[in-house]
C-alpha cells in the first residue's frame, strides 16, 4: 500500500478573548490595622496614616483610625509625637536626616505596632532623558534617570510619578542586584495611563532600605497570574498591614515636547 497524503485545514476561528464583570461571593474577614508611613527629607511635615481593612464590597476604601498614639524615635533618642489631623492621618514637623535609624511605635487601645527604617544617603542623578517608544502604531513616552550606582553595597530605589499635576502614584522599585556599581538607567512610566506629547511629568525618587523594597516588590509581583497572591511582606510588627519607610528623596520635572 502506498499513500500520499495531502491534508488541508481551514480554520474559521473566533479567537477573541473577552473580559466581563462578574459577581464573586467573598467572605468577610476580621478587620486588620493598616499603617502607612512614608517619611522623607523632601518636606518638613511628616504624615503617617492609620486605618483598618473593610469588606471587599464596602462602599468606602478603608476605615480611618483616629484614636492611635503615633511616635517616631531616632537612634539619637529624639522623639517625635504625631498628632491626629483627622481621616486617619497623623502629622509631626521635622525633617529626617540620613544615616539615621528611625523607630516607629503606634498604639491603638492595648495593641502596639512597631517598626524601624534606616535612612540611606541620597544617590545623585547624573542626567535626565525622555524615551519615545512605538508599540504597534501608538507612540508613548517614558522618562529616564541616569546615575552611577555606588559599588559593593546594596541599593534600593523607589519611584512615584505624577502626570499633569495629579497625585503621585507608585511606579517602580529597583534593586542593584543586576547592575551593582554600574552607570545605570532607570526608565519610569505611569502604570495606569500612557504618557503622551504635551504632558508634564514629575518623578519622586527615593533611596529606600531593603524591607521597604521587599514590600513594594511584593506589591508589583502580585498580578492576575500569581499562583498564590498574598499580602505584601510588611516591616511592621504584630500583624499590621502596610509599611514604614524613612528615605532621602528628590523630585525631577519633565515636559514631553516635540523634538
Amino acid at each position: 500500500m502506498r499513500f500520499y497524503y495531502l491534508y488541508t485545514v481551514l480554520f474559521c476561528m473566533l479567537f477573541a478573548s473577552c473580559e466581563e464583570l462578574i459577581d464573586v461571593n467573598l467572605n468577610e474577614a476580621n478587620p486588620r490595622y493598616v499603617i502607612e508611613g512614608d517619611l522623607s527629607d523632601l518636606t518638613s511635615e511628616q504624615i503617617i496614616k492609620v486605618s483598618q481593612t473593610v469588606a471587599f464590597n464596602a462602599p468606602v476604601r478603608n476605615k480611618p483610625i483616629d484614636n492611635a498614639i503615633v511616635r517616631v524615635m531616632n537612634d539619637k533618642g529624639e522623639v517625635y509625637t504625631f498628632n491626629s489631623i483627622g481621616d486617619g492621618a497623623y502629622s509631626a514637623s521635622f525633617k529626617p536626616k540620613d544615616k539615621t535609624r528611625y523607630n516607629l511605635s503606634v498604639t491603638i487601645g492595648d495593641e502596639v505596632f512597631e517598626s524601624s527604617s534606616y535612612m540611606n544617603p541620597y544617590i545623585d542623578v547624573d542626567s535626565l532623558g525622555i524615551i519615545e517608544d512605538v508599540i504597534f502604531s501608538d507612540t508613548v513616552y517614558s522618562v529616564t534617570l541616569k546615575f552611577v550606582d555606588p559599588k559593593d553595597q546594596p541599593n534600593y530605589y523607589k519611584y512615584n510619578i505624577s502626570v499633569n499635576g495629579k497625585d503621585f502614584i507608585f511606579s517602580r522599585v529597583f534593586s542593584d542586584k543586576f547592575n551593582d556599581g554600574l552607570y545605570v538607567t532607570h526608565q519610569i512610566s505611569d502604570n495606569r495611563n500612557d504618557i503622551l506629547i504635551g504632558d508634564t511629568v514629575v518623578v519622586r525618587r527615593q533611596i529606600i532600605d531593603k524591607p521597604v523594597f521587599t514590600y513594594w516588590n511584593d506589591v508589583l509581583s502580585i498580578n492576575p497570574g500569581s499562583a498564590a497572591p498574598a499580602n505584601p511582606t510588611s516591616n511592621i510588627s504584630n500583624g499590621a498591614l502596610g509599611y514604614f519607610s524613612v528615605s532621602s528623596a528628590k523630585k525631577y520635572g519633565f515636559r514631553i515636547k516635540f523634538k
Binding site: 500520499y4 488541508t8 462578574i22 481593612t53 497572591p229 499580602n231
Partner: protein, 774 residues
C-alpha cells in the same frame, strides 16, 4: 547493594542456560503487514492450552508451548486476527504480521476469550491508547493531541485552557514523567500550552500509569506517560502531509533496505507569524511567533536477534518583537536502543538517552544588551532485561544511571551594557537505580506484579552549598570540588499490584507504590511557564516521595464490549515544595532559602465505563477527589486545598459510525473550578486600593464545562488509490465563557467601589479540514 543486583542478574542468566531447555519456547515479533510497524501489546494465544502472552513495548513476545503442535491465535485491536498452525520441537523465532481493518465498519468477531486484559492483568491505574483509537475524538483547532485526550480519563485532571500540564490523582503538574521513546520531555507544551509537543503523525501509542507504577519506572511521583514514536514503514515509501491555516505538517517514511531497515521523519511548523510580514510597521514585520517540531527515527534489523533503533525529537518555540526582544525555548531528545534476544526467554534492551530543555531571552535596547540562557539536560544509560521464565512467570530487571545537569538562568551582558553579567552555579547530580520486578500468575484466579526499585541520588560538586535558618537567611556555606559527592539520597521504592479474578468477567485489584522524585520544578504562576526554575535535591531539598494505595473492581459486560472499573486511591506526598511570599526565584544564588517544605495528601474515587466495539463507542469517566497541602509557614500551618483540587471531574466521549461515509463524535467535560486565593477585604496604601488576603486557596473558580462536536465525511470508494475526506469540528459548542483568570480592581469612575472581572480565552471555535490521500 548493586553487587547483589548484579549477582541476581548473573543468577538469572545461569537459570536460563540450566533450565531453559525443558519445554519448547517460541518467540518473535508481531508487526503491521502493510508498514512493518511493530505492534505493542498484541496477544498471542495457544488455542489448545489457552495460554496467552502479549508483545512488549518492542513488539517482542515469548511463549512456552505445552505441545509441539499447536494453533496460535494472534490478535490486536483494530486488526484482523490470524490463526497459524505451527509444528516445532525446537526453540524457534516466529514473526507474525496482522492486517489493519481500516475503515470497514462491520464488526470483527474475535474468537478466543482473551479480550479481557483489563480484567485479568494485575496492572491497575493504567491506560493504553493507540493514535488510531483517538483520531475521532474532537479537539481544539482540529489538531489531534494525545495529551488532551489523556486528560479525559478518570483521575487525570485537566490543566484547563492555555495549559498542557495535567494533574494525576491530585499530584502537581511537575510530578508526571513524560517519556518520548524513553527520553524525558521536560516541557510538553507549545505556544504557552495551546498545543502539546507531540505531533500525532509521529506517535504510535501512549501508555499512562497513575498508580501501581511498575518498578522499571521512577523519577516522578504522580504518573508515568510513556509515548512511543512510530518506527517507519519498512515495506514501502509513504508520505503524509497537511497544510492548514495554523500549521503545516509533512511526514516521510520508508524502507532503507526492504524489511530490514527503515526511516521516519516528521515535521510540523506553525506560521501565524507570516501574517506579521504583511504589516507596514517594520518592527512588527521583523517579529516572530511560531513553533516547530521535528521527529525522526531510524531502525535497522541486523539479524533475527538484534535490532537497533535511533530516534530523536527537536522542537522550538520562538517569540520575538523586532530585534528588541526575543524569547525561544524547546526540548531536544535523542535515544539509541539496541534490542537483543539472548535466547527465546531472555530479551535485552540497552538504551543510551540524552534530552534537554533550554530557553533563551535576548534583550537589545538602547542601554542594555544581554542574553539570559538556561538549560537542563540529562544523560541516561539503561539496561533492561525481560526474562520469560515460563507462561506463569515473567521477570524484569535492570540498571539505570542518570546524570542530570541544571544550568540556571545566567545573564550575559556585553561590556558597555547597563547590566552586569550574572552566573549562577550549575548543579549536578547522578542517580543510580536498580530494579527487579516479577509478574506471576500462579493460578487462574490470582496474579501479582511486585517489585522493588532502589535509587541513590548523589548531589555532586562543584559548587557552593548554603545552609539556611528558619527565615531563609544563609547562615553557612561550604564549597565542594567537582570530584566530591555532597550528599547521598538513598531510597527504596517497593511496588505491588495484585489481581484476584472472580470469573472471566470480573476482578478485584489492589496496588501500592512508593516513588521518589529528585528533580523539582518551581512554579509560582497559575500556568507553568518555560522560564520556571528547576532544582535538584540538595542538602536543603529532600527528595519528594509519594506513597499510594489503591483498590479497584473491574468488570466487563456483553462479551467484553463494555469495560467498567471503579478505583479508589489514597496518596501521601512527602517533602513537597512551596515558596515564601514574594520569593525571588530568578538568578538567585540563595534560591533554596526561598523554599518552604511541607506535605500533601490526595484521595479519590474513579469510575470508568467504556464501550470498545460496535458502531458506537466511547467512554464516560468520573472522578470524585480531594487534594490538600500543608506547610508550617503558609495559611497558619493549616491544611489547604491544592490548586488542582477538583471535587468533581467528568468527561464523556462518544463516537458514532452513522454510515459507511459518515462518523460523528462528541465530548463533554465538566469539573469543579480550581481552588484559588481571593481577597476577603480591602484597604488603601499610597492612594491605591490594595486587597487583603486571609486564606490560601480558600475560594473556587467557577465550574468549567464545555461540549465539542466533530464529524468526518469519507465518501471515497474502497480500493481506489485516490481518496479524500472532510473533517468538521466545533469546539465549545454552546460558547461557554469559562474563566481563565478572575481579578479585582477599583472601579474606573469611583475608587470607593471595587469590582471583580473574569477573562475567558475561547468562545465557540469551528474548524474544517480537508484531507486527501493517493
Amino acid at each position: 547493594m548493586f553487587r547483589q543486583y548484579v549477582l541476581f542478574v548473573v543468577a538469572c542468566l545461569f537459570h536460563v542456560s540450566l533450565f531453559g531447555q525443558e519445554k519448547v519456547s517460541i518467540s518473535g515479533y508481531v508487526k503491521d503487514a502493510s508498514s512493518g510497524e511493530i505492534l505493542i501489546g498484541a496477544t498471542i494465544q495457544a488455542k489448545e492450552s489457552n495460554r496467552t502472552v502479549r508483545t512488549n513495548s518492542y513488539g517482542f513476545f515469548s511463549l512456552e508451548l505445552d505441545n509441539k503442535e499447536t494453533t496460535l491465535l494472534i490478535s490486536y485491536v483494530g486488526y484482523q486476527p490470524i490463526e497459524e498452525s505451527i509444528n516445532t520441537d525446537e526453540q524457534k523465532r516466529f514473526n507474525f504480521e496482522l492486517t489493519s481493518i481500516g475503515r470497514e465498519i462491520e464488526e470483527v468477531v474475535i474468537s478466543g476469550k482473551k479480550q479481557n486484559k483489563n480484567v485479568t492483568s494485575p496492572q491497575m491505574g493504567a491506560f493504553n491508547f493507540t493514535i488510531e483509537e483517538i483520531k475521532n475524538v474532537p479537539v481544539i483547532f482540529g489538531e489531534r493531541d494525545i495529551l488532551k485526550t489523556i486528560q479525559m480519563l478518570p483521575g487525570v485532571g485537566k490543566g484547563g485552557e492555555g495549559s498542557s500540564s495535567f494533574f494525576v490523582r491530585g499530584g502537581g503538574g511537575d510530578q508526571n514523567l513524560i517519556l518520548l521513546d524513553e527520553a524525558t520531555v521536560y516541557n510538553a507544551s507549545h505556544l504557552l500550552g495551546f498545543f502539546s509537543t507531540f505531533n500525532s503523525d509521529a506517535i504510535k501509542d501512549v501508555e499512562l500509569f497513575k498508580g501501581g507504577i511498575p518498578a522499571q519506572y521512577g523519577g516522578r511521583i504522580s504518573s508515568v506517560m510513556d509515548i512511543h514514536m512510530i518506527d517507519g514503514n519498512n515495506k514501502n515509501f509513504a508520505a503524509e502531509g497537511g497544510i492548514g491555516l495554523i500549521a503545516s505538517r509533512l511526514k516521510l517514511e520508508g524502507p532503507i533496505q526492504k524489511d530490514k531497515s527503515s526511516f521516519m521523519i516528521s515535521g510540523r511548523r506553525t506560521y501565524a507569524d507570516l501574517f506579521l510580514k504583511a504589516s507596514s510597521d517594520q518592527t512588527v514585520k521583523d517579529s516572530k511567533l511560531y513553533f516547530y517540531d521535528l521527529n525522526a527515527k531510524l531502525n535497522y534489523r541486523i539479524n533475527d536477534k538484534n535490532t537497533i533503533y535511533a530516534s530523536g525529537y527537536f522542537g522550538k518555540d520562538d517569540l520575538g518583537y523586532g530585534d528588541l526582544f526575543s524569547f525561544d525555548w524547546g526540548n531536544a531528545t535523542a535515544t539509541v536502543r539496541w534490542n537483543h534476544i539472548l535466547n527465546e526467554k531472555l530479551f535485552s534492551n540497552t538504551s543510551l538517552i540524552y534530552s534537554d530543555f533550554t530557553y533563551n531571552v535576548n534583550v537589545n535596547n538602547d542601554n542594555s544588551e544581554f542574553v539570559i540562557a538556561s538549560k537542563i539536560e540529562n544523560f541516561n544509560l539503561k539496561q533492561d532485561f525481560s526474562y520469560y521464565a515460563n507462561n506463569k512467570s515473567t521477570w524484569r530487571f535492570g540498571l539505570n544511571a542518570l546524570k542530570q545537569k541544571i544550568s540556571p538562568a545566567s545573564l550575559n551582558a556585553n561590556a558597555n551594557s547597563a547590566v552586569n553579567s550574572i552566573n549562577i552555579e550549575k548543579r549536578h547530580g547522578i542517580e543510580l537505580a536498580a530494579y527487579l520486578s516479577h509478574e506471576w500468575n500462579p493460578t487462574y484466579w490470582f496474579s501479582v506484579l511486585y517489585g522493588m526499585r532502589a535509587t541513590d541520588f548523589m548531589v555532586q560538586g562543584p559548587g557552593t552549598f548554603y545552609e539556611f535558618d528558619r527565615d531563609g537567611e544563609a547562615i553557612s556555606s561550604e564549597k565542594y570540588t567537582s570530584s566530591e559527592i555532597v550528599k547521598h539520597h538513598f531510597n527504596i521504592e517497593p511496588r505491588l499490584s495484585a489481581s484476584f479474578i472472580l470469573d472471566d468477567k470480573q476482578s478485584i485489584k489492589t496496588s501500592y507504590n512508593r516513588i521518589v522524585q529528585n528533580l523539582h520544578q518551581l512554579t509560582n504562576t497559575t500556568s507553568s511557564l518555560p522560564t520556571d526554575q528547576y532544582v535538584l535535591s540538595s542538602i536543603n531539598i529532600k527528595p519528594q516521595y509519594a506513597d499510594q494505595v489503591a483498590l479497584g473492581y473491574f468488570r466487563n459486560f456483553a462479551n467484553n464490549t463494555y469495560e467498567f472499573s471503579v478505583e479508589s486511591f489514597y496518596k501521601y506526598m512527602g517533602n513537597q515544595i512551596d515558596f515564601r511570599n514574594g520569593a525571588d526565584l530568578q538568578a538567585n544564588e540563595f534560591l533554596e532559602g526561598e523554599l518552604l517544605f511541607g506535605q500533601g495528601r490526595a484521595y479519590g474515587l474513579e469510575l470508568y465505563l467504556r464501550k470498545t466495539k460496535g458502531k458506537f463507542n466511547g467512554w464516560i469517566s468520573y472522578t470524585l477527589g480531594k487534594s490538600e497541602r500543608q506547610f508550617e509557614q503558609i495559611n497558619n500551618g493549616d491544611w489547604f486545598n491544592a490548586r488542582q483540587d477538583r471535587t468533581h471531574d467528568v468527561s464523556i466521549v462518544g463516537i458514532y459510525q452513522l454510515s459507511n461515509k459518515w462518523n460523528v463524535g462528541a465530548n463533554f467535560v465538566y469539573y469543579t473550578g480550581n481552588a484559588i486565593t481571593f481577597p476577603s477585604g480591602k484597604y488603601t496604601v499610597d492612594g491605591r486600593t490594595s486587597f487583603y488576603y486571609t486564606e490560601r486557596n480558600g475560594y473556587r473558580m467557577p465550574d468549567y464545562h464545555r461540549l465539542d462536536l466533530s464529524a468526518n465525511y469519507d465518501p471515497s470508494p474502497k480500493n481506489k488509490r485516490f481518496a479524500s475526506s472532510w473533517s468538521f469540528g466545533l469546539y465549545n459548542v454552546y460558547n461557554r465563557k469559562n474563566a481563565y483568570i478572575i481579578d479585582f480592581r477599583e472601579n474606573e469612575n469611583n475608587a470607593n467601589i471595587t469590582e471583580a472581572y473574569k477573562i475567558a480565552l475561547f468562545g465557540i471555535i469551528p474548524s474544517v479540514t480537508w484531507n486527501f490521500k493517493f
